[in-house]
């Protein structure tokens, strides 16, 4: 987190006023979104917000287009969605929303006003931008379901560094999981896949993109890349046969071509020929040489012919019959530059798929440049 060098309100009771409305939403929806966006911060600090309907409030809230009198003109649709000013008298604390945007109450067909407002009110209270991609104060908009929104720990730490914690006895609220750390040696990855020469490492609602020339892997939200993708996935692979990335979660599989969900997906696992009793796929890897995809399920694995789109005869087979030394649960798998990597917990086993020979046992973070 970052702050504006300690600029903060010297009082805990603040007023806000909604000066005008966007035509995108009903007044009631705007009122509710603004109130809930302020409560995000009130719940974790001593700050309390009171709405006033005339006069000057600490936080004046307005919707406007292009130049609107503060020297920071908006830029039409897209680009900048809103801005706000650090705590101080006058324009300090005020939040302005770009009415060339399409604001919505909860759907990801536009920008959810609650999410944009909660971020801007972080500025109104003294927070600057965070470089934690999971933080509310990360500068890039990303959709998340407002009904299940929980203030991430990075933002809680930031606002409490300015105002302290909420002293009122309130019932404990769910806390957001911390943004996963690529260099956490105990971390078990959810899935690994390739994507046109890059490597994607999935964990919780994020993935890291790593490509040969990159010094550091880039962490991003899965839903930033694929808006209707599941999070906390079980498995993933890139089918170089169909030029798609497939993500698995529970009994369903999602297929993406570029950024787009392929129509008809998600589909049940049985659409791939897996038994209807299969509850989840633990890992998947595409073998470039044979153009077959291996699906790891418990202590067994299946072989899927990508060209024929059918399951091969003679499967499932036991994992440890083919992959020597792989006695634990397979948690992820992928192939890279001819070597096959099978993950189990925090370890990555490097094999020759043709011979089943184990070359090395490495840590999960091997490709994550820690």
């Amino acid at each position: 987190f970052s702050t504006f060098g300690g600029f903060k309100w010297e009082k805990n009771s603040l007023t806000y006023r909604i000066e005008n409305y966007t035509p995108d939403m009903s007044a009631a929806e705007v009122d509710d979104s603004i109130e809930r966006a302020l409560q995000v911060w009130a719940q974790v600090t001593p700050l309390r917000f009171t709405r006033i309907y005339n006069g000057i409030a600490d936080i004046m809230i307005s919707f406007s287009r292009q130049a609107h009198g503060d020297g920071y003109p908006f830029d039409g649709p897209g680009g900048t969605l809103a801005h706000a000013f650090a705590p101080s008298t006058g324009i300090g604390g005020d939040a302005h929303f770009d009415d060339d945007e399409d604001f919505t109450f909860s759907s990801n067909r536009g920008y959810v006003l609650f999410l944009v407002a909660a971020h801007e009110f972080g500025h109104s209270l003294g927070l600057s931008h965070s470089d934690d991609p999971g933080a509310l104060m990360y500068p890039i908009y990303s959709f998340s379901n407002p009904e299940t929104f929980v203030l991430p720990q990075d933002d809680v730490n930031g606002i409490q560094s300015l105002y302290g914690a909420n002293e009122d006895p309130v019932e404990p609220r769910p806390t957001a999981p911390p943004t996963p750390n690529a260099c956490d040696s105990t971390m078990t990855l959810d899935a690994v896949a390739t994507l046109r020469g890059e490597m994607l490492f999935f964990k919780d609602s994020f993935f890291w993109r790593s490509y040969p020339q990159s010094a550091t892997p880039q962490q991003t939200r899965i839903t930033n890349f694929w808006p209707n993708a599941p999070v906390n996935i079980d498995a993933a692979y890139e089918s170089q046969q169909s030029d798609r990335v497939l993500l698995f979660k529970g009994r369903q599989v999602w297929a993406f071509s570029g950024y787009d969900l392929v129509s008809g997906y998600p589909k049940p696992l049985s659409s791939l020929g897996l038994p209807k009793t299969t509850k989840k796929v633990d890992a998947a890897l595409y073998d470039v040489a044979s153009r077959k995809t291996l699906f790891f399920v418990g202590s067994n694995y299946y072989s899927y012919d990508e060209a024929k789109e059918t399951m091969d005869e003679g499967f499932p087979k036991r994992v440890d019959e083919t992959f020597s030394g792989m006695s634990g649960k397979v948690t992820a798998a992928f192939q890279y530059r001819g070597f096959t990597y099978v993950y189990s917990g925090p370890y990555m086993f490097e094999y020759s798929l043709r011979s089943g020979r184990l070359f090395r046992v490495l840590r999960n973070s091997y490709f994550l440049r820690c």
Binding site: F1, S2, G5, Y72, H83, D131, P139, Q213
Partner: protein, 79 residues
Amino acid sequence: PLSQINQQDESFAKNYLKTFFNLTEESGPTVRRGFNPAAVKLMEMQRFFGLQITGTLDTDTLAMMKKPRCGVSDQKVAR
């Protein structure tokens, strides 16, 4: 690839760095000595967003610049 970056992208990126990373127009001796303030700011932006730090405008960096975002500067202020 850099080849996909055109002049319009360059000016968009420059304006982005001015708005969010406080790039200022430099003139005089520093510029003559080959010191490129835009490259320094670009690296700062690439570091902030966890991109590959190249100091040059590549497609990943431009894609990040085009994402919808907050209008407040990203200049890091001390914690």
